[in-house]
């Protein structure tokens, strides 16, 4: 640890404390070290100072001071990101939104909410529950991750299959730009008012275009009926094929998730034990929403397909407590892997849903050859796979093998017509692999867009876009081997 970077002066620190209060500034090395990584543990760095504003105005004032102090800024929500997007950078401050957690407005009639960026995902849904509404995207870390962080990574979650990722739900943003000025993009009623749509580029920009401080999102009416189905398979391959068939038949559940045996074991050993049976090689967790008849019909179809592909047992429940337990197990699956090894590499790739089985076996082979422990848990519905590789970061060779396997999995997905990230972002983890998908010209265009917002590389520099040119990385876009049978989005 211990950075040799630029030290922030006492005067600037005092100024920051004046703006956000003493408790909002953490400057001593021990306190700062807790921010040395997000949930992507492979790369760590030290921030010069941690600043935690409470309002947009405080954030804007703090940004001006940091700018004057010659630091760059990494925006951070709860630090639950899995690709290093919120990791500190050299000569950088962290500006965190953890104290910006007020739900500013819930408008039940027009079905939108305006929140501060640090509001935790589940707290937003809780805040609009009385109005019979909910917020669509439900990342697995939703009990901790923030709406601002969701905007940065264009987060999805199991129900992304039906509701889409964050970009389909954001109506407006308030952000602080690199001059410390507050700008508004969109708003509750801004759809189609003739302006250039700048929300698009900002959602998913991983904190490189500014600091999002307030977010206006649309809310959805709670479905009349929700049923959760559990289908048990003797083989992971059969389970994957069943999903491909469901998609081909155009069944529309709201979520289709797959957990393999190692994942099931880890979850069942944890406080989140969901009652997944221990005799299954793979579990498919499906949720169906809608009116009574619609739910019954879809559930019956899902079960029929599962049975046809060898499911040896299926269960259905509409009981809220049981549904909650089943989902808690799924959503705690990453954390539960801590029981297997101290560190976890969570890959996040997207494959066409007709080729799930192929990618899963590519991942299995890559890990077996490198003597690595692989657990699979994924949003099968939208083709977003999360092969989880357990490792111990104190073992340098194991770390190397993990990264190698991760890259092979990414290559396989890209070659199959998929993409590098479903919802966790590029961050630091997949920067080099951007060259698998994009040419130098593509990346240059992205960099120009970034520079239009942030000419001086003040926001989260060195993330997402490859730092070195692709020629230097010796990678070219991979030819797509077979035409994608369908759009993976």
């Amino acid at each position: 640890m211990g950075s040799d970077g630029k030290q922030i002066s006492r005067r600037h620190l005092a100024e920051l404390e004046r703006i956000v209060g003493k408790k909002g500034v953490r400057a001593d090395p021990t306190a700062r070290s807790a921010y040395e990584s997000d949930a992507f543990m492979l790369q760590r760095a030290s921030a010069e100072v941690i600043v935690l504003p409470r309002t947009t105005a405080e954030a804007a004032a703090a940004i001006k001071v940091l700018r004057e102090a010659g630091l760059v800024v990494v925006p951070r929500g709860a630090g639950t990101g899995l690709s290093g997007g919120a990791r500190p950078v050299e000569n950088g401050a962290i500006v965190g939104t953890a104290r910006m957690r007020d739900v500013l407005e819930v408008n039940a009639e027009d079905r939108y909410a305006r929140v501060q960026a640090g509001v935790v995902n589940v707290h937003l849904t809780a805040a609009c529950a009385d109005a019979g509404l909910f917020y669509g995207p439900d990342p697995s870390s939703q009990t901790a991750c923030t709406i601002g962080g969701n905007v940065g990574n264009n987060s999805g979650g199991p129900h992304g299959f039906k509701y889409g990722s964050t970009n389909r739900h954001v109506l407006g943003l308030t952000m602080v730009d690199s001059r410390g000025e507050v700008i508004q993009l969109g708003g509750p009623g801004a759809a189609g008012d003739g302006d250039l749509d700048l929300l698009g580029p900002v959602v998913g920009s991983e904190g490189m275009l500014g600091l999002v401080t307030e977010v206006t999102v649309q809310l959805l009416p709670r479905p009349e009926k929700v049923e959760t189905l559990l289908c048990l398979f003797e083989s992971l391959d059969a389970c994957c094929d069943a999903v491909s068939e469901m998609i081909a038949r155009r069944l529309e559940p709201s979520a289709i998730e797959i957990l393999d045996r190692l994942t099931i074991e880890a979850v069942e050993a944890s406080v989140l034990r969901a009652g997944y049976p221990d005799n299954a090689e793979a579990v498919m967790l499906v949720e169906v929403e809608g009116g009574d008849e619609e739910v019954d019909a879809t559930s019956a179809d899902v079960i029929e397909v599962a049975r046809a592909f060898g499911a040896f047992d299926t269960r259905r429940t509409t009981d809220p407590a049981e549904r909650k337990r089943l989902w808690a197990g799924r959503k705690g699956a990453f954390g539960a892997m801590g029981r297997i090894a101290p560190d976890l590499y969570v890959a996040d790739v997207v494959a066409p849903r007709t080729r799930l089985r192929e990618i899963v076996s590519a991942a299995t082979v890559a890990c077996r050859e490198r003597n690595l422990k692989l657990a699979n848990v994924f949003h099968a519905g939208d083709g977003n796979l999360h092969p989880n590789i357990s490792y111990d970061r104190r073992d340098a060779d194991e770390v190397r093998r993990v990264l190698e396997a991760g890259r092979i999995i990414m290559e396989a997905c890209v070659a199959a017509g998929g993409s590098l990230t479903g919802e966790h972002g590029i961050g630091l983890e997949k920067q080099d692999e951007m060259c698998l998908v994009f040419s130098d010209d593509d990346l240059e265009a992205m960099d120009q867009l970034r520079a239009a917002f942030d000419p001086d590389a003040f926001w989260n520099p060195g993330k997402m876009l490859p730092v070195r040119g692709c020629r230097e990385i010796h990678t070219r876009p991979l030819p797509v081997q077979a035409p994608a049978a369908e759009d993976a989005s």
């Binding site: 953490r26 921010y35 949930a39 941690i50 709860a78 944890s270 406080v271 801590g338």
Partner: protein, 428 residues
Amino acid sequence: MTRESLVDHARALDCIHCGLCLTTCPTYQLTGSETSSPRGRIHLMRAVAEGRAEPDATFEDEMNFCLVCRHCESVCPAGVEFGAMMEFSRGALLERRPPGPLARLARWVGFRGILVRRAGLRLAAVGLRAVQLLRLDAITSPLLGLRGQIFRNLPRVPSARERRPLPPVTEAEGPARGTVLVLDGCVMPELFGRVNRAMADVLAATGREVRSVPKHVCCGALHAHNGELDQAEDLARLTIAQFNEVDDSAPVVIDSAGCGAHMKEYGRLLANDPEWRDRASAFAARVVDLTEELAAPEATARLQERLGDGHGIDGPVTWDDPCHLCHGQGVREQPRHLLDLVPGLERVEMPGADSCCGSAGIYTVLRPEDSLEVLDPKLESLESTGARTLVTANPGCHQQWQIGVGKTGKGVEVLHLAEVLERALKPR
């Protein structure tokens, strides 16, 4: 697992930094600082254990800022035993960064002079009562500055009549269901003697013969939570021996969640003592919280016959989970179930009932300002329920709520679950 290492390193390694614990943590809620979150603290423990950081003042402050409510354990998918890690960290800190002379004296008086001796506890109670009756606290508090807050936040000591310990035996009523041992406790008889008596009466009403252990004083929970591990081990051995002397197989029923959670972990505490390890595990397995004992079907059946609506409790009641009951022992449903058994009692759920009230053992004394800041959102939560009675099952929480309710002036009554049940018992 060695006491010498700053943390139980292997356990720290279970944490994969996923961050799901953050929102449960009262100090993260208060500050928004990840350094003050369970994940942040584990990071610090690990950094110190691996020699990447020094156990400096910031480290010490973060360890002491933690309330050890163990809410994070209830949501940790990796099963990190955070409470145990914090006890080890605090223990090691005492060795690595000994407190100053005044603090050392205070700790000695508190942990060795008062808590473990009945005479010391009585003297402290009498002294405090005298101070309170003579209103000396009004004079000394301003002189002591922030520390003076301690006096204002100390509980009102009841009269000498109230402070009598449990009788050695309380006879079973009706058909006998065997014997249980109960813990009188250290501060319980001095401050909440009525709760202990209510516990004994209710247990007797379910057909239990109730035996106390007059020799026994302290289970050592407060010592362990504050890093005084050697003494905690001694007290655990003493407790086991004294209880077993009275009865070596009867269930041990506890009405103080903090003590119960700790006594259930005697096996872990004495794991490195080959002579005591097995005895400790066997003893720990006999420990049950009062609500677990009463929610057992045979006890519930007996209670149902005896509970009536003459309890005089008007208006809605709400249950506040003591952290060391719900997070420490996983007991959540039983107390609610028991309250629902009482005829004419309207129970409402309090949002965030399972988050910490800021009491946390002697935290109220060590960090009075933080303690009250943690309580503030709970008070708002209580008000939102409209409850007229708040029910809990731990002396620290009981006292903290009395302070909080007293501040708001809303006149909500704070009761131990045993008191509610006792009030509802119909005369035989």
